[in-house]
């Protein structure tokens, strides 16, 4: 038996499953396209119907890539939070990071009317929403972290996160009282979560910020492993705890913040994916966990999206409904099987 497992076989299987899910996701949709034509469309050969080529290139491909980015990004940010807080229930949603994004977006969409008509047009561009969501998540995470230094009780931190959720809900309802029906609708639709309406150009910007977050996460692998010992041990091993914590927080808010900005507040993925991963990869070594969470997140999000678009029908369900329907039972199951909560 080698000293450290490499988990080669599970990784190969996961990569194959990811490819399979990617192909399935592109093949299925409201318009039925034969698999042969999907393949032709992908490699640039002419398809039987010209519209099909357009659907695949301009709609399904960006959507599948968004799903991969969203799933893997949220999964990794959940993993970072769970290790940083040494709490298996931590995640971008529970800790109020997503709430922070929502508050930022609500302020921009519904608060815009306060700043007058001319300015409103500038404020409610896609980019201002992206910036507001990222800032919101960063600020909330920073506050939670400052408080976590003071209370030291992990349960209290989770409750603080939930309180931020309530503050967001309250602020949003105050704002919605003063805003127009259109603005309210825009906010609510954003809240459903959507990974389907990004153009290649937007996806490109999204991808760059995401990659920055991923690079920071990769750079934190050693730090994360050291933090498994607890902060005092980590410090005795020469780790600059404050600096590393800040890096992990920036990575998380870049990932969770931009994903929430572009795709809406997608719940449960960040919390559930790391736990699902640990069921297969029974290790705490982040050198293994991080890529595994990446693959798991991408796969689950592709599956959720495939279900959400209800193949061969015109309807598309809100992606948030599907992730909750999958995520919540997973969390209940984990709580019941408490032994496996060791992380």
């Amino acid at each position: 038996m080698p000293d450290t497992k490499t988990y080669k076989l599970p990784f190969i299987i996961l990569i194959l499953v990811l490819l399979l899910c990617f192909c399935t996701n592109i093949s299925l949709g409201s318009v039925l396209i034969p698999f042969k034509d999907v393949f032709n469309g992908l490699i640039g050969h002419p398809t039987e119907n010209v519209a099909w080529q357009h659907i695949i290139h301009e709609y399904r491909l960006p959507k599948a890539f968004t799903a991969i980015i969203v799933g893997s990004g949220l999964g990794i940010s959940g993993l970072l939070m769970q290790t940083l807080f040494r709490n298996p229930l931590a995640g971008p949603f529970v800790l109020g990071i997503t709430s922070g994004s929502s508050l930022g977006v609500a302020l921009v969409i519904m608060g815009a009317s306060f700043f007058g008509g001319a300015l409103a047009g500038v404020l409610v561009s896609k980019w201002s929403i992206v910036i507001a969501a990222s800032l919101g998540s960063f600020i909330v995470l920073l506050i939670v972290l400052i408080m976590s230094n003071k209370v030291r009780d992990t349960m209290a931190i989770l409750i603080i996160g939930l309180m931020f959720g309530s503050i967001t809900t309250a602020t949003v309802s105050v704002l919605s009282f003063f805003s127009s029906a259109e603005e309210l609708q825009q906010y609510i639709f954003w809240g459903f979560g959507s990974i389907g309406n990004l153009t290649w150009h937007e996806l490109f910007i999204f991808f760059i910020i995401y990659i920055l977050g991923i690079i920071l996460s990769l750079a934190s692998i050693k730090t994360l492993n050291t933090l498994l010992l607890g902060e005092n041990y980590a410090k005795s091993l020469g780790l600059n705890v404050k600096m590393s914590r800040l890096l992990i927080i920036i990575a998380t808010s870049l990932l969770a913040g931009t994903i929430t900005a572009f795709a809406g507040p997608i719940v449960f993925i960040g919390l559930a994916i790391p736990h699902m991963t640990r069921q297969v990869f029974n290790t705490s070594n982040h050198k293994i966990l991080l890529p595994a969470v990446f693959l798991f997140g991408a796969i689950i999000m592709l599956v959720c999206d495939t279900i959400a678009q209800l193949p061969s029908s015109d309807l598309t369900l809100p992606i948030n409904a599907i992730t909750s329907l999958i995520g919540a039972p997973v969390i209940i199951w984990l709580l019941v099987r408490k032994r496996k909560m060791i992380f």
Binding site: N225, N232, Y233, R278, T283
Partner: protein, 264 residues
């Protein structure tokens, strides 16, 4: 005396420890002068609340000193960066691990963190040190077990192995024998004694096992209300230092056996 010629690893000069708040300084102990030599096993004993933990926290740079000097290998403690301190001083703490889902090997391997690259890859030298640490602490057979499968005694050995893997001149342990049964208390302290001899590292630990410490340590640091006394156990017994360790209404120190007895 050959000891005085050997290399001094840790030295304090007129050290004062305690807490500072905005308004005032709370001095817990002062005029602490300690010299720890290479390859010594040193026990730190004293009653509850006398400041053992505060002293250890100050020596390990977790807490600021109030006054005086601390030097490790002739360099002042303040002049060490985090990473350089990690190469001369390793710790075994009383706090529980953040994650017990690590295997014993992985946990001990984390001791190599100050030496590894940005992603923490282990070189053949690292592997050699890790395996040696596992061997020296007799936990070779445990190396693929998860930490949550271990007993308290086994876990303590693993934590000591991790500190060994950090390859430092000085190892400081905070009450390494709490939660252990009588056999394992003796086992752990005996292990520390052997390690100090074999590896020529200086090992400092705080403990309430005074009789064991008297039997096994080269030097004892005894903290009483008024002073901090350092010396060889037999000399300290002759001086009657242990008589003042606790209030004398309930237990008394027996010079012949080197242990405390309940008053009849």
């Amino acid at each position: 005396m050959t000891k005085n010629k050997s290399h001094i690893v840790l030295k304090t000069q007129d050290l004062a420890i305690g807490y500072t708040s905005k308004k005032e300084k709370t001095v817990i102990a002062s005029n602490i002068n300690i010299k720890l030599h290479k390859g010594e096993l040193v026990g730190l004993i004293g009653a509850n609340g006398i400041g053992k933990s505060t002293l250890l926290r100050t020596l390990t740079s977790v807490q600021r000193k109030l006054d005086g000097n601390i030097t490790i290998n002739n360099t002042s403690l303040e002049n060490y960066s985090n990473i350089n301190l990690a190469k001369v001083l390793s710790l075994v703490l009383t706090e529980s691990l953040g994650s017990k889902n690590l295997t014993v090997f992985e946990l001990v391997a984390l001791g190599r963190q100050p030496y590894t690259n940005w992603v923490g890859s282990l070189t053949s030298k690292d592997l050699q040190v890790i395996n040696q640490s596992l061997f020296q602490t007799n936990i070779d057979d445990l190396k693929h077990k998860k930490c949550y499968e271990l007993s308290d005694g086994q876990l303590q050995k693993v934590m000591i192995a991790r500190a060994l893997a950090q390859d430092t001149d000085l190892i400081i342990l905070d009450e390494p024998t709490t939660h252990l049964d009588m056999y394992h208390k003796a086992y752990i302290l005996k292990l520390l004694q052997n390690l100090a001899k074999e590896t020529n590292k200086t090992i400092l630990f705080s403990s309430h096992e005074i009789d064991l410490a008297i039997q096994l340590c080269d030097t004892l640091i005894v903290m009483t209300k008024d002073t901090v006394i350092t010396g060889q156990p037999s000399n300290l017994i002759d001086k009657g230092t242990f008589n003042d360790l606790f209030p004398q209404d309930l237990i008394v120190f027996d010079n012949k056996t080197g242990s405390f007895r309940v008053k009849k």
